[in-house]
């Protein structure tokens, strides 16, 4: 295994030699120093990526494998296609395009094979046609020519690949073409895909860029935020809407949709999403390191939120990491919320329910009765903690206090509780 660092002179030479344009790239060479296969970019999860590398190392469906087959059978469309994809991933576009052209020549009717694309079967030939059309707008072209992609769209009105062709065209019209051409294209794009976020948002950004047709932009930006994203507005799209209002000179509207009221709730929303993620993966008993990291991050965002603190503690308890639960929801919490009887009560109840940290629960429960001496609930809570610790004499005293301070209509309840503690003491 050898690291090739682009930042070094020797590394840069090796990048050039193998025509590597993308980082990271992992390449496997044979003992002869010739390429066997490569993997470009990284896709999580790491285990899956590792498996892919192992397959390359093991010689499974590698570049070399398809090259050898191609040498023996140069008309095999399946082989040509897989070889073209290998070159395409490595960004060797000229070699890929030459092979895509061979596919079209060998199988103009598109019957020789298909690939899966967005859960649909797409003929190799059709895919090859799209790749060739898309090359006309690539960064290597002197000037982007949208016509081949438009022709593709016309030729395949029902193809799943049309959406990809539209996306590619949108990238062209973001920077090229006249204002009228761009507007005509984007109108067609959103008419074809009226609920597609990519279509709508790219048109909105074009409108912001050209500062024209602002009302149409507002209409589309509202559709994104009010109809498509609905309950979970995305700040990036709200910013687009605010930009449009701002361009119209309506600062109040910009403030309304993207002002401080909107932004102030975003950290809390994020914190809850992080915690939902953590809960999910702890429930699955997988991804737990990431779950813990996200739970900790959620607490950093909202350090004084009792509900969140309690949820994180529950999560750590489930993971059998009481020390981590206590780090967030332990003595420090009591110190911080020393004057809040309800929060201290919830703290004590939490640890009673976990049957752990009963000493901490006792400290909290004692403090609640100091703060709220006329609350029968708090005395009852203290009694419960003592019972958990099997300190029945103190549990009885606390239960008697609960009965003493309880209002007349509740005395029966606390009387029964007192009797239950006494009975528990007898039966211990």
């Amino acid at each position: 295994m050898l690291k090739i660092d682009f930042a070094t002179k020797e590394g840069e030479e090796i990048f050039k030699h193998f025509e590597i344009t993308t980082m990271p790239t992992v390449m496997i060479l044979g003992p002869d120093g010739v390429e066997i296969d490569w993997q470009v970019g990284y896709r999580a999860p790491p285990e899956k990526f590792h498996e892919t590398i192992e397959k390359s190392v093991g010689g499974v469906e590698t570049f070399r494998y398809y090259s050898d087959l191609y040498a023996k059978d140069p008309k095999n469309v399946d082989v040509i296609f897989n070889l073209a994809r290998k070159y395409e991933r490595l960004d060797h576009q000229d070699k890929a395009l030459a092979l895509y052209k061979e596919i079209i020549a060998a199988d103009p009717e598109g019957k020789a094979g298909t690939i899966d694309y967005d859960d649909e079967k797409v003929p190799y030939t059709q895919f090859a046609e799209l790749m060739i059309a898309a090359a006309s707008i690539s960064r290597r072209s002197a000037k982007a020519d949208p016509e081949p992609l438009k022709a593709f769209i016309r030729k395949y009105p029902n193809s799943v690949l049309r959406q990809r062709a539209y996306q590619d065209l949108a990238s062209v019209y973001m920077s090229e073409g006249t204002r009228q051409e761009a507007t005509a294209f984007f109108e067609e794009y959103v008419a074809t895909y009226p609920n597609d976020l990519s279509a709508l948002s790219s048109y909105v950004r074009k409108i912001i860029q050209i500062k024209d047709n602002l009302d149409r932009g507002i209409e589309l930006a509202k559709k994104i935020n009010n109809q498509i994203l609905k309950s979970s507005p995305n700040p990036a799209y709200m910013k687009d809407l605010a930009s449009l209002y701002s361009l119209k000179g309506d600062k109040a509207k910009a403030e309304e949709v993207y002002g401080k009221d909107f932004m102030e709730v975003q950290p809390a929303a994020l914190a809850y999403r992080l915690l939902d993620y953590a809960d999910f993966w702890v429930g699955q008993n997988a991804n737990t390191d990431s779950a813990m990291a996200m739970a900790d991050l959620a607490l950093k965002i909202m350090p004084d939120n009792l509900n969140m603190t309690q949820r994180v503690a529950t999560l750590y308890t489930k993971l059998n990491k009481p020390e981590r639960a206590l780090a967030n929801f332990g003595p420090e919490f009591i110190k911080k919320f020393m004057d809040r009887p309800n929060d201290l009560g919830k703290y004590a109840l939490f640890w009673i329910s976990q049957d752990k940290n009963l000493d901490g629960a006792l400290v909290a429960a004692k403090r609640t009765v100091e703060l709220a001496p006329k609350s029968p609930n708090m005395w009852d809570l203290l009694s419960i903690v003592y019972q958990k610790q099997k300190n029945y004499d103190e549990a009885i005293k606390a239960a008697e206090m609960a009965l003493a301070v309880a209002p007349e209509q509740r005395k029966t309840v606390y009387q029964k509780k007192l009797e239950a503690v006494k009975k528990a003491k007898e039966g211990k």
């Binding site: 090739i4 980082m23 990271p24 496997i28 970019g41 190392v57």
Partner: protein, 50 residues
Amino acid sequence: MKKLLFGSAVFALLLNSAAAQNWFKGTLDEAIAKAKSENKKILLDFFSGA
């Protein structure tokens, strides 16, 4: 200009610490000579430390 899909030497992260210490220290030519003599494959991890 190089396209950066991920900011670091990802592959190194996927290996356990023992394996991660097995990076060849010499040049590519030296690595190929060694691979040839041992009839082994070479794995190249292209990244940028800049």
